[in-house]
């Protein structure tokens, strides 16, 4: 499955994932401490520079995930234009900068490195849920997404072979049921191989 990591290397790719995440957390807190539109514009400019430093293709690819913000930008812009309240600029700048920065970290960090940091962050939980169990669950989910996507497609085809109508929600009980059955079978297979810690 495709991850959101940008495939070709930029200067930020080799940096340690933990460091990037810590810097992101600090930067995001900083963004929420700023209220002056001029300061936030500066932050937005700095973020644009950061993204541009990854090269043209990288910068173009980072614009795509920002697209999801357009309804919020449109609503905030319309609302504050109507009220003639300049605070809207600050809200929009902060929103786009925060999401842009977070995307930068996601795009320059490998999935495995990110999961390693998450497992490190989850150490306090390890007393309740042992780390190997979390790792196994993560691996199982990633492995089963393509399997179940295929299953959903098969169920839809089977429906269409029998009905002129689109399947709609009617395949969902079968899909959910097959998820439960798979879980039972995989659990049995795991137990046969020595079980989970």
């Amino acid at each position: 499955m495709l991850t959101l990591t940008y495939p070709s290397k930029t200067w930020a790719h080799p940096l340690p994932a933990g460091g990037k995440l810590a810097a992101l957390a600090l930067a995001t807190m900083g963004l929420f401490a700023l209220h002056e539109p001029a300061h936030l514009a500066l932050a937005a400019l700095g973020t644009s520079g950061l993204i541009a430093s990854g090269g043209g293709g990288f910068a173009l690819a980072s614009l795509r995930p920002l697209w999801m913000l357009w309804p919020f930008v449109a609503i905030v812009a319309a609302w504050h234009l109507w009220l003639r309240d300049p605070a809207g600029t600050a809200i929009i700048l902060r929103m786009i900068t925060a999401v842009g920065l977070a995307n930068f970290v996601t795009m320059t960090t490998k999935l495995t490195d990110m999961i390693a940091v998450i497992e490190w962050l989850l150490r306090p939980v390890a007393r309740v849920i042992p780390a190997p169990r979390i790792a196994l669950a993560i691996a199982l989910t990633i492995r089963f997404i393509p399997v179940m996507l295929q299953r959903a497609g098969d169920l839809a085809l089977a429906w269409r072979a029998r009905s002129p109508n689109r399947p709609r929600w009617r395949i969902l009980p079968a899909l959910t049921l097959s998820t439960l059955d798979d879980a039972a079978r995989v659990a049995e297979a795991l137990r046969a191989r020595g079980g989970v810690d």
């Binding site: 929103m95 439960l180 879980a183 995989v186």
Partner: protein, 180 residues
């Protein structure tokens, strides 16, 4: 033990699938994604604790950089967006949905519908609206107006969650962990 791990992992995958299926077109003409239906089902089928853990696992994978949210969104950016409240609310919604099914001894379908409506619509939207109000610097009322257009789709999903849970209860009575 093995079984709870695999159930949590595979239901996390189910939430992802329901967001990835292109235009599942739940009811004709209403453009809704099935992702939050997946969250409801985690609660109503797996029960409060396992359901919430499945949703947390799903969110961990999204944060790690897999594009599993509907529309192919993912990564850390979605947690910095105004809709972050809905993501925080997802596991809580599953927990509440599961808790209702576990504690209210009505028929499975009715209890699952009620759980999905209380957890997956009411609680989820309350947390989502608080998130939007903080992130967009709006009053709760103004933020609630933004959420209002989605309530119809959400209510349809809670009905579907009830129907699906009921049909599972019929086909595999012992598989329904929320009533274990």
């Amino acid at each position: 033990m093995e079984k709870s791990v695999t159930q949590i992992a595979l239901f996390a995958a189910l939430i992802a699938i329901l967001g990835l299926i292109p235009k599942i077109d739940l009811i004709s003409g209403v453009p809704i994604t099935a992702q939050s239906l997946g969250v409801m089902l985690c609660g109503t089928v797996l029960g409060a604790k396992r359901g919430a853990l499945a949703v947390v696992l799903f969110l961990v994978l999204v944060a790690a950089g897999l594009p599993l949210l509907s529309g192919g969104r993912g990564g850390l950016g979605v947690f910095a967006a105004p809709s972050v409240g809905y993501l925080i609310g997802f596991p809580i919604a599953a927990f509440v949905a599961g808790w209702v099914v576990q504690t209210w001894r009505a028929g499975v379908g009715i209890a699952a519908f009620a759980g999905a409506a209380i957890g997956g619509v009411l609680v989820l939207n309350i947390i989502g609206v608080i998130g939007m109000s903080v992130m967009l610097n709006k009053t709760l009322f103004e933020a609630a107006l933004l959420a209002a257009p989605f309530l119809l789709g959400d209510s349809i999903k809670s009905v579907l969650a009830g129907l699906i849970t009921q049909s599972i209860a019929r086909m595999r009575p012992d598989a329904l962990l929320s009533r274990g």
